[in-house]
């Protein structure tokens, strides 16, 4: 087992994923508690979102702290199309994804030329502008937001009054697709380009990697998937406003699982979300309910400790081999 070849390792990843998905699909059969199911839905959603972020932030090395923009766009496009034009959320979701990808390309054109901190701050600033515009845009509900009336159980309208299970299975599907897309991209021409761009853009350029185009591709895929997650979230909570879907906090929450689990790795976002989201939700409900900030203290300390102790992310704990690969 010391020297597994690349192809064997990839096949093994696929088998592990299939087993995990099958196991996860069975969990609701045993866990009937609505609160626990709620945490599982959020965990899966953030696993998928962070997986999407990881494509741009991890593999391609472009640290975006503004993914709340794409998350919020997905949520808003879906909610507006449904409540104002009666378009089914499935089409709204797709429209949100396409619009987000288009905006990512338009924004990528000027921003991908920026380096390091200038890029990261540009992403925060752009998301913040969108946040302020939505906060003042009356037609889109402004600060009051949009209420998605839930009247019936319907797969067509993707709304369910009694059970959380449909949401759970969609979140699982979303996380699985995001994982699979990453798995597939990892070994594609794009995957190799991205890692070259991340490690040394100048050397990559000189070796014929189209640096700018690589970043644009990563940005568009990442934005598309993030918007799908946002659309799902809008239907899941059935009420959105700028604070609830586009605030800076979401940009952090989307990036954190990948950072904690192992940035630029296939399993990092899944592992990070599986640790971070339950911890956050549980501390919030057990000790943070009074609004006194204990949840923030626990959560923030966790981030500091992991980033200091495990710069490679939690994944580094599992096997030395993976750690070496993550570091490469």
């Amino acid at each position: 087992m010391h020297d597994v070849t690349h192809a064997v390792r990839r096949r093994r990843d696929l088998i592990v994923a299939a087993v995990l998905i099958a196991l996860a699909a069975c969990v609701p059969l045993f866990v009937k508690d609505v609160y626990a199911q709620n945490i599982m839905v959020l965990t899966l959603m953030y696993a998928g979102l962070s997986q999407s972020w990881n494509i741009l932030g991890g593999y391609c090395g472009q640290i975006s702290l503004g993914h709340a923009l794409y998350f919020g766009l997905g949520a808003y496009v879906t909610a507006i199309l449904l409540t104002k034009f009666g378009v089914l959320p499935w089409f709204g979701m797709l429209a949100g994804g396409v619009i987000s990808a288009a905006i990512a390309l338009a924004l990528g054109y000027p921003t991908f030329r920026l380096g390091g901190h200038y890029f990261a701050i540009a992403t925060i600033v752009i998301a913040e502008i969108a946040f302020l515009l939505f906060l003042n845009w009356d037609w889109a509900g402004a600060a009051l937001g949009i209420d998605i009336m839930v009247r019936e159980d319907s797969w067509a309208k993707f709304q369910f009054t009694r059970s959380k299970l449909p949401y759970f299975y969609f979140a699982l599907l979303f996380a699985a697709v995001a994982w699979l897309v990453t798995w597939w991209l990892e070994n594609s021409k794009w995957g190799y380009w991205w890692r070259a761009v991340k490690d040394n853009p100048d050397a990559a350029e000189s070796l014929g990697v189209v640096v700018f185009k690589s970043k644009m591709g990563a940005g568009a895929i990442s934005a598309f998937l993030t918007a799908i997650g946002g659309a799902f979230y809008a239907m899941f909570v059935s009420y959105i406003d700028p604070d609830a879907v586009m605030s800076f906090q979401f940009s952090l929450l989307i990036a954190l699982p990948a950072v904690l689990g192992g940035i630029g790795t296939l399993w990092g976002p899944v592992l990070g979300a599986a640790v971070l989201i339950p911890v956050t939700e549980l501390t919030r409900s057990f000790i943070g309910g009074s609004g006194r900030g204990v949840d923030l203290i626990v959560y923030g300390s966790l981030i500091v400790i992991v980033s200091l102790m495990r710069p490679d992310g939690l994944l580094g704990l599992f096997s030395r081999k993976r750690k070496v690969e993550a570091a490469r």
């Binding site: 901190h117 900030g293 981030i303 200091l308 710069p311 993550a326």
Partner: protein, 292 residues
């Protein structure tokens, strides 16, 4: 819109801008020294404001007098944060940038949580300080006294900082470490000590800004967040690491904010600042005065 309103808002914008410069300069100093962006900078400001508030509430020390105390306290706090957290974040061999971003981000969240826990999320304000609520009229233009004093303080602080960096041994060590940390170690300057003092100095500067801000702004655990983003924009506009770029960047941001508030609803005034940031970095990706 008369000429008077325009002059009036540009004058207040200029005052606020100088204060923004003072808030941001510590951030720029630390970045220039060790290439780290402190994402908890806004929380440092928040702590300074609480410091001034509690000194006023418990000991009736006016913020104008407690300012040196707050700055001294923040100096110790900043140096301690470097020694306890940042020093270790810099040791990371992989993902160096991410480790620094998220270690200081995590710290920001912890500080916010601690403030909520110990100080409660209530909005506080210092109601009857010497400066608070007063205005002066200069040639028909009304200027709030706290901001006026804050602006004067900012100019004085930048002046002192300039002398400090150019004339003192520590200032020269600071400059030399920014230029080439490795070579500095060779001539016997303890890099760790310079970094700790740099964090102390940067934090003391935001302490000054916080004490004056406490006289005219509400104080609550999240207050740092909005100023932090403005501080990043100021620092980036000036060019990361350029201390005097922060001065110019602050003034520019203050004026842009005031102008935006004239033509757009007040809730959108930050959009103008952000738009100018994007415009500047798109044209000059290294900021206005950045050299790196």
């Amino acid at each position: 819109m008369t000429a008077e309103t325009i002059i009036q808002s540009l004058a207040s914008g200029l005052l606020m801008g100088l204060l923004y410069g003072l808030i941001a300069v510590g951030l720029s100093l630390i970045f220039g020294l060790m290439n780290i962006v402190n994402f908890a900078h806004g929380e440092f400001l928040m702590l300074s404001m609480y410091g001034a508030f509690f000194l006023f509430a418990f000991f009736a020390i006016d913020p104008l007098l407690s300012m040196p105390l707050v700055a001294a306290g923040m100096f110790v706090f900043g140096a301690a944060i470097y020694l306890l957290i940042v020093r270790f974040a810099m040791r990371a061999k992989t993902n160096v940038g991410m480790v620094q971003i998220f270690a200081t981000f995590g710290l920001a969240i912890v500080l916010r949580g601690l403030a909520q826990y110990f100080f409660t999320p209530d909005y506080r304000s210092i109601t009857n300080s010497w400066l608070g609520g007063k205005t002066v009229s200069i040639g028909g233009i009304f200027l709030p006294v706290p901001q006026l004093v804050g602006a004067a303080l900012a100019i004085a602080a930048f002046g002192a900082l300039y002398v400090f960096i150019k004339r003192t041994d520590f200032g020269r060590a600071l400059e030399a470490t920014r230029e080439d940390a490795g070579a500095v170690a060779l001539v016997g300057i303890d890099q760790n000590r310079v970094f700790a003092l740099g964090w102390g100095l940067g934090s003391a500067l935001v302490g000054l800004a916080g004490a004056i801000m406490a006289t005219f702004f509400y104080i609550y655990p999240d207050v740092g967040a909005s100023f932090a983003l403005i501080a990043y924009v100021v620092v980036a506009l000036g060019g990361f690491g350029s201390v005097f770029g922060a001065f110019a960047g602050g003034i520019l941001v203050g004026l842009v904010e005031a102008t935006t508030a004239l033509v757009m609803p007040p809730s959108l005034k930050a959009v103008g600042i952000y738009a100018v940031y994007l415009l500047v970095v798109f044209i000059r990706p290294r900021g206005l005065f950045g050299s790196i």
